[in-house]
Symmetry: C2
Subunit: 186 residues, 2 copies
DNA sequence: ACACACATGTAATTGGTTACATGATTTC
DNA sequence: GAAATCATGTAACCAATTACATGTGTGT
C-alpha cells in the first residue's frame, strides 16, 4: 500500500464522477481544484494502473470495448479515500520565490522589488476577478449538489486570501515608494 | 550555469552575512525565511561546492585553517544574485492537501472536515502569535538595518494572510456546523 | 563522562514535470 | 482532408528530502 497524493486526488475525482478516463480525470482536476492542486499525465496513468491493481478502482470498458479506458471507484476505493480524508493533512513545505525575492530586495535596485510587487498585485486582481466569476457560476449551477458547501469553502478561502493579498500589496507599494521618495516635479 | 533556487537562497544569505559555513547558512535560513522557504543539508553542501566552482562564492579558511569551512560571496556572486532578483519570480504550482481534503469533504463524516478546520484554526492562531512576536523583536533589534523594510514586508505578508485565514476559518466552521444542526438538548 | 551543538557529506528515495511518441475520433 | 481534441503511455530529467555515516568541539 502507501499511496501517493495523486492516488487520493484520483479517488476523490472518481468519488464524484464515475466512468472517467485518465484524460478526463486531468480535465476535471483542471476545472475544479486547479488553484490549489495539479496533476500531470505522467503521474495519472501510472497511478491508474496502480490503483486498478490494488482493486481501489476498476476499469469498465466503454460500451463497445473499443476506445478509451474508463475507470470507476470501488467500495475498497471509497474506504481508502475515507480513511485518507480522516488522516491529518500534510503541510508540504512551501517555497515562495516571490517572497524570497522581496526578502532579498535590498540587494537590488529599488525598482526590482517594486516591479515584482506590481506584478503580484496585478495577478492578484486578475485572480480575484476569476474567482468571483467562478463563485457566481458555481452558485448558479452547482449549489444544489451535496458537495457544494465544501467546494464553496475552498473557493471562499481563495477569495479571502486574495483580498488579503491585495490589501497587503497596496500597503507594501506605499512603503516601498516612501523609501524611494519621488523627486518633486518642477 | 543555470543555478537552482537553493543556489540563490545561499547567495542571498551570504549577501547579508559574510563568512558562513554550510551549517550556519542552514541556521540562518531557519531563523529568517523559514515560513516561506527551507533548505536541507542535502542541497546546501553540494550547492556550495558548485557555487565555489563557478566562482560565485569563495572559501575563506577560518583563521587557523582547521575547523569549519566558511564561504563569502564574490563580486560575481553579487552580480548573479542581482540578475536573478530582477528576473520574474517563478510561481511554483502549489499543492494544498488541507484544501483538497476540504474539497472532498462530503465523502467523509462531517466531523472529519470540522476537525481539519479546527486544527487549521488552532495552527493559524499559534502562528499568528509567533509572527506578532517576531515582528516586535525585529522592530526592536533590526529596524535600523537597511534590509529591514524588505524583511518587514514579508513578515507583514504572513500576518495579513494569517488574519485572513483566521477570519475564513471562523466563517467556515459556522457553515459546517449549520450543515450539521446540533440535536437540541432535552 | 555525557550530552549537545557544530560540521560535512553521500546514497537512496520520493515525487514530480516535461518532452516525446503515437494514434483514434470528431468537427469544420 | 486538415485541425482540434481525445487518449495513452514512457523515458529522461529535476529538485528536493531523508536517512545514514562520521567526526569535532564545548559545556556541565
Amino acid at each position: 500500500m502507501s499511496l501517493n497524493q495523486t492516488a487520493y486526488a484520483i479517488l476523490g475525482v472518481l468519488s464524484f464522477h464515475p466512468r472517467q478516463t485518465g484524460y478526463h480525470i486531468r480535465k476535471t482536476v483542471e476545472s475544479s481544484v486547479r488553484y490549489f492542486w495539479s496533476e500531470s499525465y505522467g503521474q495519472i496513468y501510472p497511478t491508474l494502473k496502480r490503483l486498478a491493481g490494488d482493486g481501489l478502482i476498476e476499469p469498465c470498458g466503454p460500451a463497445g470495448k473499443k476506445g478509451a479506458q474508463e475507470y470507476s471507484i470501488t467500495q475498497a476505493g471509497r474506504a481508502a479515500l475515507e480513511a485518507w480524508l480522516a488522516l491529518p493533512y500534510r503541510e508540504d513545505p512551501q517555497r515562495n520565490e516571490f517572497l524570497l525575492k522581496i526578502f532579498f530586495g535590498i540587494q537590488a535596485a529599488p525598482e526590482v522589488a517594486i516591479n515584482h510587487l506590481m506584478n503580484f498585485q496585478q495577478r492578484t486582481r486578475q485572480l480575484f476577478g476569476t474567482f468571483t466569476e467562478l463563485e457566481k457560476l458555481a452558485i448558479q449551477h452547482n449549489s444544489q449538489e451535496p458537495g457544494f458547501p465544501y467546494w464553496h469553502l475552498t473557493l471562499d478561502f481563495g477569495l479571502t486570501q486574495l483580498r488579503a493579498s491585495l490589501e497587503w500589496s497596496e500597503r507594501a507599494l506605499e512603503r516601498l515608494n516612501q523609501l524611494q521618495p519621488q523627486p518633486a516635479s518642477k
